[in-house]
Subunit: 439 residues, 2 copies
């Protein structure tokens, strides 16, 4: 039971002994952190397979005494939301899990701590030093798919809450620990939380951005371009137009648009090298090895600056493709259809001097001994939903990781520990603390 | 019953009235030809699905009174043959069908008439004017997948035999009508006939080469190149090397070899524009739209000149790929494995003044009123097995077709009629004729 005594709402007001105690409590929980992270990595939670990891999160939240809200994404409820992205697969059986702390009395500011449970495919597992879903600790790092992106972040906020609890405290304001699906392709997991009503005075997502504070986020689109050429037999080779060749010619036009956008950066990205990346992530084309390919589909991840809507960006891309087909003689007789599925995600900015960011920087400085850098992120995160549609200021602040989305992904365990401490300190200062009756 | 009377063994010796009668008999069978071709087109006989069409051929051969030899490819029996190409799928249930005419007395020269029953995929059926496996006759052409390549050729030799029969004759030497599988990917169907023992004094394959006489055939290889790059997250975009990009860089190197070979043509191809074609027929690459692709596989159909073995050609290609990986800085850190599956098919030449070709030209001239042109073919056919390993001189001579291996394939019905007449005349002159007892 909370006794309602508010201890602090500003970082400077946090008692020095409490700060030290929080750091020590986090240290004392590091084995728990590694155990939870290992258990989460062991759960292969690629798109559509998140259930096992989410059951583990629901149990973990319940173990903290939190009220657990586990719910499938209701696509009908989110489909008309401006933040919706067309889904790739069904949401049946794919649950978000939210651990809810609702104190009897609220004296501080509320907080959402959000992380995504889904991970991207490991690629060729044989190229990993250790199997991607078998966590291994080596030289202060934990290896495995999703270790950095972003199961360590989920562990960090979970253990931050537990650290305060271990000292006999609870946040003096509502805190929602969200473990969501679908961050890597649509963001509809986080959107579903929003539509379900979750709001707070701030939201932090411990994405693995090396303990920087995110002040801007790029917009991201996914699209597929299916090109038809004209197949031919080898004996008529000169008569055919290879759809693979045509798809790659269209890729040149896409890259021209990418270069144009990079040449005129948004102010937030003025100092970021090559902020706009058009990634040809997947390709499949051709029907028969001895025939000139008739169709080829390229799957793109595109990006665009904050301030542009997803619809404006996709219209610009489509216009560029149309123009290429109309004017490039090498594409004569070819056609293309563009499908927008997956991310239709606008970017955003948040002021570096926002009270949440200033407080997070204070907490970081107290742990790391220097100010946190800021990052204008060249990828998308679920933070956009909070900022753009949720009236909930949001940023990312999470551990240092390497090789996310590739072979031998790993996260720094020291960084995991430090982020946990920072989040605990932030929670103490932002939400205030109530002494728990039983502690 | 044959009475054994040999009527002619040279074209000039063919009685003028008999020539006229053969032409009239072929004309009289044109409705049968269209009916059989339509029935064959209706049987979708893509790789692995040849059974229905082969049942029809077995019935047709039996209807001509031929002894029918229908047999599965015995891969164990052909695997060690130098003409073998690594197969793509199992041969279980996939039969060659041979209609065998073995006269009681042989006075002329024996003949193999060979055609392949397999067809290539139709591609996007919605792009066809009519569905690809629903034959349609329009403006003197029959449309449908396989109409030209090469079911019309099979119909031509079948009806040529029937035309002689309708006049009360049978060839005065063994004639084998072969309907084989697997021409479009390995040639192992024709090879299996060879290994089963079929030989003759000549072989003709009515491939749709517009009634030209084939005097040379290019060598063809199929291979798959799997490239590994280094995947990365968008936030680390500069760190990744896209396997799709790497595969396309390797394609540049492949195209350089293609250009070198085209710049130094084999004498038989001196007048052929661009005889060597390296076709990037299929591609699949990438794992996740937002990750830098880690692997990409390209599927190639390559060609090389007669006189080079398949092993020499493939070694040259592998060496070029190795060199590219070692020396092209854009490919640093990338690797490639090459798999040779499907065609490992050497080319060949046959002298234009070979007696078979001279007789075929005589027969053509008598029907078409002008000499047949010759063709140095830039694709492969099953003719290589007869010439290289079977001691059976072989060429191609077949109807005019358009859009083979692509959309709206069709064959000229006039050309089908003329090829049927030429093959009947050739058979009469080459094999000689015996009057059938019952006619």
């Amino acid at each position: 039971m909370a006794d309602g005594t508010s201890l602090a709402t500003e970082f400077d007001a946090l008692d020095a002994a409490l700060r030290t105690a929080i750091g020590a409590a986090v240290d004392g929980l590091q084995d728990d952190a590694i155990a939870l992270l290992s258990a989460l990595v062991r759960e292969d939670s690629q798109m559509g397979q998140e259930a096992g990891a989410q059951v583990l999160m629901a149990e973990t939240f319940a173990g903290l005494g939190l009220e657990v809200d586990a719910f499938e994404i209701d696509e009908a409820a989110i489909r008309t939301h401006p933040g919706y992205s067309p889904s790739l697969i069904s949401y049946a059986g794919r649950r978000n899990v939210v651990g809810c702390h609702r104190p009897a009395q609220t004296t501080g500011k509320s907080l959402i701590l959000n992380g995504h449970i889904d991970v991207v495919p490991p690629g060729d597992a044989s190229r990993w030093t250790h199997p991607p879903f078998e966590p291994v600790v080596r030289d202060g790092r934990l290896y495995g798919r999703g270790s950095g992106d972003m199961k360590a972040g989920i562990v960090a906020y979970t253990l931050a809450f537990k650290a305060l609890q271990s000292l006999g405290y609870a946040p003096a304001a509502p805190v929602f620990l969200q473990s969501v699906v679908e961050e890597e392709c649509t963001g509809n997991g986080a959107l579903a939380c929003l539509v379900r009503g979750y709001r707070a005075d701030a939201a932090i997502i411990p994405e693995p951005f090396a303990q920087t504070l995110m002040t801007a986020q790029i917009g991201v689109l996914w699209c597929s371009i299916t090109v038809t050429g004209l197949a031919a037999h080898m004996i008529d080779r000169t008569k055919g137009t290879s759809a693979i060749d045509a798809a790659l010619l269209l890729a040149e036009h896409m890259k021209t648009l990418e270069a144009e956008w990079n040449a005129a950066p948004h102010p937030a990205y003025a100092d970021v090298p090559h902020p706009i990346n058009f990634n040809l992530g997947r390709i499949e084309g051709g029907e028969w090895t001895s025939s000139v390919p008739e169709t080829c589909t390229t799957h793109w991840r595109l990006s665009f600056y904050p301030g542009m809507t997803a619809a404006e960006a996709s219209a610009t891309v489509e216009q560029r493709i149309r123009k290429a087909l109309e004017t490039d003689p090498r594409l004569a007789g070819c056609a293309a259809t563009v499908t927008w599925q997956g991310f239709q995600a606008p970017g955003f900015e948040i002021a570096a001097n926002h009270p949440m960011l200033r407080l997070l920087d204070d907490a970081h400085r107290s742990v790391a001994g220097r100010p946190a850098g800021t990052i204008a992120c060249t990828c998308t995160t679920d933070a956009r939903f909070f900022n753009l549609y949720g009236d909930t200021p949001a940023t990312c602040y999470g551990p240092e990781a390497t090789a996310i989305h590739t072979i031998d992904e790993s996260v720094s365990l020291q960084s995991l520990r430090d982020v946990t401490a920072v989040l605990a300190l932030f929670m103490a200062a932002w939400c205030g603390l109530s002494r728990q009756g039983g502690a």
